[in-house]
Symmetry: C2
Subunit: 221 residues, 2 copies
């Protein structure tokens, strides 16, 4: 499928590069590759959008576009804001794993990022996580924050009237419906359609379980 995708763009070249067919510590970690991609596609507003797949309550895959809200400070964890009333919340409570598919339309790069997703809503008991949620709230524009005061997403639209304009105190903390999702990636499949390179980044934890180690392998596109 990736190949089908690739060939719709340009002619096939064989794999190139130095390190083939062996596990290696990547010269450029996936997060760096992602930061470079974000930079080279920064002129496109949609470069901050990606598709997040989860498993629905009926077992079927579920997939939607969401907005990248940056990495959690000093980490490779990916932040997403969402409405705690949206269906993905129940899905993630039942099965907290997701895969991001992030395609950069200008640089022809794809990142498939798989990992566990932590859900931080108002009921979270961890004060550090609640602080992260508050930080994400204040990092959002006032307009973004206002959305969480609206009607429940996905329910039938019953209002015949325009919604009343709602004012939020800019200094007020997160409303109940505001939820921060934090994905901790454990595998990243990177595809560059210009160089026709594909790298699989895989993480393992050390014995103490407090440090993650990434390796990468060049694989066939």
């Amino acid at each position: 499928m990736i190949r089908s995708f690739l060939f719709s763009l340009f002619w096939f070249h064989s794999c190139g590069g130095e390190a083939k067919g062996r596990s290696m510590t990547s010269p450029l970690p996936w997060k760096q590759l992602l930061l470079v991609a974000l930079d080279s596609n920064a002129h496109l507003q949609h470069s901050h959008f990606f598709q997040l797949a989860t498993v629905g309550l009926n077992g079927r895959p579920s997939n939607r576009t969401v907005v990248f809200r940056g990495f959690q400070e000093g980490s490779e964890k990916i932040q997403i804001n969402t409405d705690s009333r949206s269906s993905k919340i129940d899905e993630l409570k039942a099965f907290p794993f997701g895969e991001i598919c992030w395609y950069f339309t200008d640089s022809w790069e794809q990142f498939r990022i798989n990992g566990k997703i932590d859900l931080i809503d108002a009921s979270n008991s961890d004060p550090v996580k609640l602080q992260q949620r508050e930080k994400a709230w204040f990092a959002s524009s006032l307009r973004s924050r206002l959305q969480y005061t609206g009607s429940t997403p996905g329910l039938p639209c019953i209002s015949e009237e325009p919604s009343k304009e709602c004012h939020l105190d800019p200094s007020a903390g997160p409303v109940g419906a505001f939820c921060l999702l934090v994905m901790d990636p454990d595998q990243v499949d990177y595809l560059n359609l210009k160089s026709n390179e594909r790298l699989m980044f895989t993480s393992t934890w050390n014995e103490e379980g407090d440090a993650k180690h990434w390796t990468s392998e060049r694989i066939n596109p």
Copy 2:
């Protein structure tokens, strides 16, 4: 999440339109909406790319960019070409459901299309399906067809040499690795971020099981 997405683009307006909070036969079926979106985004090469989510063999969601290969003739079934050696094939054999997330970056429309996926490879016993596969093969460019003669996707890249140029007889039928996927949608969640409208299209089969009926409902974005 959709709201977070929406608000990253523009200011929130209340739901508008004629038919609110009730089930209705849509004035414009989802396939028509999709054809209009394809037309209005036709100047963008990536408008034919979407993200297909499946459920991986480990139960986790899996998500990748694929290329729209048109509707199956006279139907609303969506065609995708893929390599029968790619991992999604085993995934779909184990659980044949997927969700497409298709975001149009110019018209700000999103289609989330959920349905069962039929897998048509060389071993298929249905002659009609094998004809469809052959038709999809010949509808692809020669360059696209050549990809299926390459190394197994996802395996370590071991070749140090540029791949030999391979020639395919333009009149030769599909090679073994060529696989046609056909999604038969049964639910479509449509979001228009310019009009701030969201419609949920749901299908039901008649008692005889030979005709599908679609209804739509306006829901909160």
